[in-house]
């Protein structure tokens, strides 16, 4: 750990609680999603039951991690706390947000309950503000079929600008395809063009656009200038500090 001064996990103290050593994996995958959508089942599907899972007595957080190999690459997968949103201030959301923002995972895999698509997309769209590299797993697809509801995954994928893969975590249906997409996005084979919400109330949209331009000027390498601008407007003092003391700049050089 000590020789890894520049590896993402060391950049912010916020991540120290994770105590990761990520250098032994080729790609880091963050696993996000609403509570109760089958995230842990997906984790088990991906890593097999042999991986090291367990409850970690953290503050409010139970966390698991695992690893899997695909096409000669080693993937490390970090299970983030289940949250409805990333905009609020609960401890769980902060951890999930900080990891996606500062931990810079190579792919963020968002598990979605297909039967509650709308509410789940709320989280997906928020994640797309922070990071480009996202794969959406449309879990519980069998429930949709049972209810005779049709979901056009290709159309969804096109609208979101990232892969959206129907899966049934319980029976491992679609898991192979999911892994392949994770690999494609991680290795850069699939280039994501994430959807960014453009229609906020007039005054707010103007403020966001104005600040985004300024942030971009100051930090040209930042992939998520708009998110930073939104956090500033939200009064996120952690981001303010990261800008002031240069940590944000260092992170995305």
């Amino acid at each position: 750990m000590a020789d890894c001064v520049n590896c993402p996990a060391n950049v912010l103290s916020a991540l120290k609680r994770y105590g990761e050593n990520m250098q032994d994996a080729d790609f880091v995958v963050a696993l996000a999603g609403n509570p109760n959508v089958g995230k842990s089942t997906i984790l088990n599907d991906l890593t097999g039951l042999k991986q090291h899972t367990g409850n970690w007595p953290g503050k409010t957080v139970t966390r698991a991690e695992g690893a899997f190999g695909y096409k000669e690459k080693k993937f490390k997968i970090i299970d983030l706390p289940g949250t409805y949103s990333l905009l609020s201030t609960s401890a769980d959301e902060e951890i999930a947000r900080d990891f996606i923002l500062f931990g810079k995972p190579d792919v963020t895999l968002v598990v979605v309950d297909s039967t509650k698509l709308e509410r789940n997309l709320n989280l997906v769209l928020q994640i797309l503000e922070i990071t480009d590299k996202v794969v959406v797993a449309l879990n519980l697809f069998d429930e949709l079929r049972r209810k005779n509801i049709k979901l056009d995954a290709r159309r969804l994928s096109a609208d979101l600008g990232v892969p959206a893969v129907p899966v049934v975590a319980r029976s491992k249906e679609g898991i192979n395809e999911l892994i392949d997409y994770v690999w494609q996005v991680a290795s850069g084979e699939y280039v994501c063009k994430p959807k960014r919400v453009k229609k906020f109330n007039g005054k707010i949209q103007k403020a966001i656009d104005d600040l985004t331009a300024d942030v971009k000027k100051l930090f040209p390498n930042l992939p998520n200038a708009r998110w930073i601008a939104m956090r500033l407007l939200e009064g996120d003092m952690q981001i303010e500090e990261a800008i002031k003391n240069g940590e944000l700049g260092k992170l995305f050089q």
Binding site: K147, K195, V197, I204, K217
Partner: protein, 478 residues
């Protein structure tokens, strides 16, 4: 970067933050609302493009039917209590057989082998005592009585959770918890506490507001845990059952145990109420409870995770605490001064104090040294009774339990037990400090010595208070 560039960059950053600040003042507090609305509007648009609902709505979904039943006025509560009763019955009854097996193996077979091995290599007596009769015996005891019920209770509970039943329970019972200023999900952590308080405390993580979570943690100990049910059943059948004609014996002892468990629920509600009026003032502000769709539980997965996550976790902590406690128990009963064991001095010292509460010195000492697990309180009491009253026919200075009810009754009566002692031990067993595993878990979960202390002091105080009142009333009438 040159110095000048650095300065100009700093200026720019300052200007950026200032600008953001000004925008914030202009927009005011509605920013967050607007962002969420904007994102949801987009989510709705995208979802509606991708999803196509069937032309005609399916007739009544079985999920709705089930919900109507589980939440309904007449069936809701009975189903809930029936489920809880079944789970507890399965746990207590089902654990007997594997418990006996383990007991036979760890205490019946391995214990003598271990002891002989120690003696044969010439280990001094005191060392054999501390390690084999003390540490090993207590630990083996804890494992054999704790592991089976947990291995049954936790998976059953997890299955109900996965199926979606438990959130409905929280919904049904929220009414009571709202009135005492707590969260409906406390019903679940309390039910979990019927299995194991340490696990109940961990389970409070599902309560997302800190105040209500603290209330749930502090009061969890009032849920009568697995380690205490057998004590209650034992004492009820020895002391309370004989009060009525034999036909009714079974009913009255069952009723008295249930009464104790209900007293625990009452204490939970009372303490929650008192806490939310005083040191944890306030009303729950964030109550929202998702009632997830029913999903067929997956048995194997549940068995695996509940074994790893809950059973092993709790058991391991219990073992860690049982080891030193076993040594202490052995030491106080085997180290002598002037030919009298230490335990006798402590018991004599505690006796005058204990009498006021209708208990005795042996009971108090047992509760002090058996802090790692409620399961070993009765064995400790029996051991101390034999030791202090010099009863013949038993091995001195080691934990034991008797298969026969009359023998146990006899021994306790030699120790001076009356109906008052029995009732008060039942009450004190419900309301006393949590076991060390639970205390440690509370500290881990709250990260605060203050709240840990509160969680210990409140039940202890209430326990002494209740036993004091019962004893005084009893003395008044006899």
């Amino acid at each position: 970067m040159t110095n000048a560039e650095k300065i100009s960059r700093e200026e720019q950053i300052k200007a950026l933050l200032k600008k953001a600040e000004n925008y914030r003042k202009e927009i005011g507090d509605s920013f967050h609302d607007n962002i969420v609305e904007g994102i949801f509007a987009e989510a709705e648009r995208i979802a509606s493009r991708a999803i196509q609902y069937p032309d005609k709505k399916p007739s009544k979904d079985w999920e709705v039917v089930l919900d109507r039943l589980l939440i309904s006025k007449y069936a809701g509560y009975p189903i809930m209590f029936l489920m809880l009763a079944i789970v507890l019955w399965l746990t207590i009854q089902g654990a007997n057989y594997p418990s006996d097996l383990l007991y036979d193996l760890l205490l019946g077979k391995i214990y003598p082998i271990l002891k002989n091995a120690f003696i044969s290599i010439g280990t001094p007596n005191w060392l054999t005592g501390i390690i084999v009769d003390g540490a090993y015996l207590a630990t083996a005891w804890v494992i054999s009585v704790m592991l089976p019920p947990m291995a049954i209770f936790f998976p059953l509970f997890t299955l109900l959770e996965d199926f979606g039943f438990l959130p409905r329970v929280a919904f049904n019972l929220d009414n009571f918890f709202r009135k005492v200023g707590a969260h409906g999900k406390q019903a679940l952590t309390m039910s979990m506490g019927f299995g194991c308080n340490a696990a109940g405390v961990v389970a409070t993580r599902i309560i997302d507001s800190p105040r209500e979570r603290l209330i749930a943690i502090i009061t969890n100990n009032f849920a009568l845990c697995n380690g205490r049910w057998p004590t209650q059943i034992l004492l009820a059948s020895i002391f309370i059952a004989p009060l009525v004609p034999p036909v009714w014996a079974g009913v009255i002892s069952a009723a008295s145990v249930i009464a104790i468990a209900l007293l625990g629920v009452a204490l939970t509600l009372f303490t929650s109420y008192a806490l939310s009026r005083t040191i944890l003032k306030g009303i729950p502000s964030t109550f929202s409870l998702e009632l997830p769709p029913y999903r067929p539980p997956r048995i194997l997965q549940t068995l695996y995770t509940s074994l790893i996550d809950r059973t092993i976790y709790v058991l391991w902590r219990a073992i860690v605490f049982a080891l030193p406690a076993g040594m202490v128990i052995w030491l106080i009963s085997n180290v002598t001064y002037d030919g009298v064991p230490l335990a006798k001095y402590i018991v004599d010292f505690l006796d005058p104090f204990a009498i006021i509460f209708g208990l005795n010195g042996i009971i108090l000492l047992a509760y002090i040294v058996a802090i790692p697990a409620n399961e070993i309180v009765i064995p400790t009491i029996l051991m101390l009774t034999v030791l202090i009253f010099g009863v013949e026919g038993y091995q001195h200075g080691v934990l034991f339990e008797l298969d026969s009810l009359p023998d146990t009754a006899n021994l306790l009566r030699i120790g001076g037990w009356t109906i008052l002692t029995a009732i008060n031990v039942m009450v004190f067993s419900l309301a006393h400090n949590p076991c060390s595993t639970t205390i440690y878990t509370i500290y881990k979960e709250t990260g605060s010595w203050k709240w840990t202390t509160v969680s210990v002091v409140i039940p202890l105080t209430l326990g002494f208070l209740l036993t004091f009142i019962i004893a005084q009333v009893y003395f008044l009438f006899t």
